[in-house]
Subunit: 280 residues, 2 copies
């Protein structure tokens, strides 16, 4: 469990004691994303000490998420050097305080190829890489043919010239942007693909972009393509951000060549947590 | 069933015949959204005739979705007058062709209060009004205290000054924008609320805005508020776009005062459709 406050440590310790368990705790360090995590090495030591005061908690080390590192892989050097300096300072301060970190856990999919540049890391935590997606390809963290997950959609309307409407909108693809400006100078074709913006592209025709969405409609711009879609035709969309697409679906199908080989229910989505309700 | 092409009519007729059913069909008219729907009265008559050629289909009338009408309620007059002219032209042409429309189906939540200005309408189709949301309030189509659905979230971090992090991010709230520019001159307080942008606001403190999100984290800007959130404290977030939030959840709880009175499973979300897979 990763946390960044004495209050969270106390609440966790209470629950852990109640159920008779000891919980391993990582002190979260903010390495630049400004989301969660303590600000610096001193704050990390203070919180680490507080964790050790709870019998039901065991201080296991530190963790961080470098979500602000969004440049293409080749351009991540300066950001990662900054992360490395902060992690190093925290590790040194903890060791000096007699609380050496056993686990040093961090990383992300875009930075996964270069996380070894952060000295002392014992664990990398990428997520998107399981399937990859359009943003990951645009950042140069995967190749286009390593985008493993697509949304199978059907063309339902071609009534408005220059576009085709598919039955996959924001409730299927997610409204997750691709930020061409942040992508930097990534791979050639994929870079111009990213510059095209929108909410996803066709796997087999990356020049065809989902330019607009409603909840149940995705609108493909066909004006820059020779493709003349027919109503009823199926297409495969590579989404901008695959994590979100998985969370919007009941099931992921495993396909090898043209054969559906397996079916994975998506278990950890939209979870009902009745235990949270009585506190209302 | 609403459709806008001869191809869709033929495919629907084939399935209807297969299962021995007659299906009522509305010809969809594009009244300005440029998403789906035939362009004009002539095209509507042509498609209506094609529908009547299928024994398994019954021509029931016309339908449309005025999704482009996004001004505040008081400023919808010119857009609705334009919609009315198009609908009227289609109805006249259909009657002239001996194919009078029995059903005239249209509308949306933002335009629901004024759809009677479209002469001939027999059916209004709002959806969001069931719960309402921040955008609906900002458009003046509901009052703030008519926003019935909130997301119950817990403060999990206050480590970064000027913000509080809750355990509801884009996988709970949806990344649905509120477009202050399009909202126009709506209700006073709610208008400035809309101008604040972001992804949702606290029900009881609309000046506290969800300014950033990750998948599982929402970041509240507390810098313009006297509120000093504690880790573990619960808050109720009014989302920008409620339809999306419902689709992201397993269950909606019905609460009256402080009592959870009922529990509604969200049935039509992320639906697995194995019948669609063999066509791969």
């Amino acid at each position: 469990m990763m946390l960044d406050s004495a209050a969270a440590a106390a609440q966790l310790a209470e629950v852990a004691a109640e159920i008779g368990r000891t919980v391993d705790v990582l002190v979260e360090l903010d390495v630049g994303m400004r989301r969660t995590g303590v600000a610096d090495a001193d704050a990390a030591v203070t919180l680490a000490r507080e964790v050790t005061e709870h019998a039901a908690l065991r201080l296991a080390g530190i963790g961080f998420y470098p979500g602000h590192v969004r440049a293409s892989v080749s351009e991540q050097g300066p950001s990662l050097a900054q992360v490395a300096r902060q992690v190093d300072a925290a590790l040194e301060a903890l060791a000096h305080a007699g609380l050496p970190a056993e686990t040093v856990s961090g990383g992300s999919t875009p930075a996964a190829w270069r996380m070894h540049e952060v000295t002392g890391l014992t664990e990398v935590r990428p997520g998107t890489y399981v399937y990859n997606d359009r943003v990951t390809a645009a950042l140069g963290a995967c190749e286009w043919d390593e985008c493993a997950l697509t949304v199978l959609a059907t063309v339902v309307s071609t009534a408005v010239p220059g576009q085709a409407v598919i039955d996959a909108g924001s409730k299927t693809l997610g409204r997750e942007p691709i930020d061409a400006a942040r992508v930097g100078s990534a791979l050639g074709a994929v870079e111009s693909n990213a510059a095209a913006g929108g909410w996803g592209v066709l796997l087999d025709q990356p020049e065809v972009v989902v330019t607009r969405m409603s909840e149940e409609h995705g609108i493909l711009d066909t004006s820059r393509s020779d493709w003349r879609p027919r109503v009823g035709e199926q297409v495969r969309v590579v989404p901008n951000h695959v994590c979100y697409v998985v969370a919007l679906s009941d099931v992921v199908y495993g396909v090898r060549r043209d054969v559906v080989e397996t079916r994975w229910p998506v278990a950890a989505r939209g979870r009902e947590e009745p235990s949270a309700v009585p506190a209302w």
